[in-house]
Amino acid sequence: MNASVPASLPSRRSLLRAVGLAGAAAVLPLTGCGAEAGRQNGVTTLRFMQNKPEVVDYFNQVIKDFEALNPDIRVIQDFNEGNFVPGLVRNDPPDVVTRGFAQATADFVKKGIFADLADLPAAATINPEMQELISSWGRYSGNETSALPFSVAAAGVIYNRDIFDANGVAVPTTWDEFVAACETFKAAGIAPIYGTYKDPWTLAQGMFDYVAGGSLDVAGFFAKLTATGADISTAAPESFTNNFGPALPKMLQLASFAQGGAESKNYADGNAAFAKGQAAMYLQGPWALSQLIAANPGIRLGTFPLPVTNNPEETKARVNVDMALSITRNTPNMAAAQRFVGYLLEPAVVNTYNEKNAAFSPLKDAPAVTNPQISGLNHSIKEARYFQGAVTYFPPSVPVNNYIQSFVYSQNGDQFLSALDDEWRRVAERTAA
């Protein structure tokens, strides 16, 4: 007993000392870095986080060119978007960020995470209609420009040009023409549309968003709904029940044109099958194009906006701001960050990116898209006839995709819309508290 006391005490003390040293060793270099990371030998280091891992090479080249022109700035690219929120929590976010702009990013804007970019010269070159895609989500303190669009993805109906030509079908410009085209394919034994209902998001972004966006003012609807707050019932004029009802039969009609067994096919199955020519049309966005080409390099594809009414001038495309540029408000390198953002929005950089990635440039005087896979959407984009998908307005805690899948299976529209009303009200109630 007595012998063990002197033996154990020093050992514990030395243990503590060792732990303390290790801890200090771990902390010291970190603080050293933190103080000097921004500026070293007159060179400012920027951290640039972008949200698309598949275009790392393009941005590496952009950064190389930028650094050659600006020897006093060094840019580090980080394509792991998952680091963004932890960076905020540590109060050490990247200096320049690109994000897909929807509900989640709009929440960051509301919390004042991003700096005001309205005074940047580049901000004046942006197409105001496309800037509105961002502003419509709400602006920090009412008038700030927290993000500038960099790349706008437009989605419609991807179609197989060979199947259309072989059956003498022209690109439909009205709903009736679209239905007639589907009937023609059906009569010829071709599945009009390839459905991948096993992945609920494909139903949400395709069938649901296209028909909802084509038949009602989605942004206006959600603005009114949000303004109503938690005090909303199924009977209220702002409710889903009272606005989405007329669109539902068209959604079901659209769903009925899918091939048999769509319930057990997922997105990967759909890409493989559509690339093999197993259907005439595919309700997917430009993200599917590269996969379809990879599966069948010889396939001739086009895209047209889904006509939901019989007035061709009302036909709209679904768009999303795939990449929006922001500078974090508390960055110590504001001047350098602004120069980098200015460079990214130079026509040569931003237009080339969008041309390469089957997307639309947000610049006012961007050249018309010539890529035949998406040029069918040119008209809608040019005339600003587009909408952001209705499902992107839902808070992530509402499993709206699953509700849509349920609706397609059960065909019970009343139940579907009242479920959306209830979910929306419950989330509004608990987030208002």
Binding site: S4, S410, V427
Partner: protein
């Protein structure tokens, strides 16, 4: 720990007056090795499990979204949980699923164990085959079954004209949960089988000889001899299984992802959605409620075990 043993040395044990044995025990030095075995694990457990759980309980009383500002909102998250039919549905699904799976797993495992305990040909080889599902990752197993249900089975069903299976049962809101039960049973039965095998091997062979002489048939022998003698193992299997199935997650993710519609959303999936959904504090309240329910069930089951004289 040195201080505690010093204190024990200095102060005479109050129990020394009552009996001799406690005195001897308190005088006997406790080997510090045992503390070195227990204390680090205790510290790790407290730091990585207890502490985060308490932080979660704390945030369930706030409106914290996972980042940014938050404030206390009292019990309103808890009140809202009880008004949320989607959460209620996930509870109903999870309990029905756990009960069904527990029953099926135990019937299947007991049957397999009886077969594997009998003197059959290639017993060792067959045992190995039956235990393979246990070493495979549940997520991988469920992805494989997902492919079978969605692609292979419909093709086969169509060829043989068996229409009920011509579309994937994973796409059927009323039947998808049966597919999940099937895969869970396939994955969980070997573990239960091992426990039953251990139980069956502890039953002495003589009693069966005696029963034979008394003219009991094999079903009678099973009902009146085997089952009562391995009841403790049955209780363990039921309790461990039920608790495990209440937390079901990865097999559902691999098979249906909670769909079709909302048909197969388990409570664990709902809770996890709070991390990505900006709904952190609300789902933390859900987690606290679920913890209390499972705690209650565990206490009841432990009571049952103690009555049966079995200890875990």
């Amino acid at each position: 720990m040195t201080t505690t043993s010093l204190a024990a040395e200095a102060a005479p044990s109050p129990r020394a007056d009552f009996a001799d044995s406690p005195v001897i025990r308190s005088r006997r030095r406790i080997d510090p090795t045992y503390y070195w075995m227990v204390v680090p694990v205790l510290a790790l457990f407290a730091f990585f499990i207890t502490l985060p759980a308490l932080v979660g309980v704390f945030f369930s009383l706030t409106n914290y979204a996972g980042y940014g500002d938050w404030k206390f909102i009292g019990l309103s998250n808890y009140v809202n949980i009880f008004k949320d039919p989607a959460v209620l549905q996930s509870y109903i699904f999870t309990f029905v699923f756990a009960l069904t799976t527990t029953v099926v797993v135990n019937i299947v495992a007991l049957a397999i164990a009886l077969g594997l305990n009998a003197k059959i040909k290639w017993r060792t080889g067959i045992r190995t085959v039956f235990f393979i599902p246990m070493v495979l990752s549940a997520l991988i197993v469920s992805f494989v079954f997902n492919y079978l249900f969605s692609n292979t089975l419909p093709v086969l069903a169509e060829r043989f004209g068996f229409t009920p299976l011509a579309t994937s049962i994973l796409a059927n809101e009323n039947l998808a949960w049966l597919a999940i039960v099937l895969v869970t049973v396939w994955q969980a039965a070997p573990g239960a089988t091992i426990i039953y095998l251990a139980g069956l091997q502890s039953v002495p062979a003589e009693i069966y000889e005696a029963a034979d002489l008394d003219g009991a048939g094999s079903f009678r022998q099973f009902l009146n001899l085997t089952l009562p003698l391995i009841l403790g193992y049955l209780v363990i299997n039921v309790i461990l299984g039920f608790k495990g199935f209440l937390g079901t997650y990865e097999i559902i993710v691999g098979l249906t992802g909670g769909g079709p519609g909302m048909a197969t959303q388990s409570v664990a999936m709902r809770i996890f959605s709070g991390f990505t959904g900006g709904d952190y504090s609300y789902q933390m309240a859900n987690a606290v409620i679920y913890f209390l329910i499972t705690l209650l069930i565990s206490v009841i089951q432990l009571r049952l075990i103690q009555r049966r004289g079995v200890s875990l």
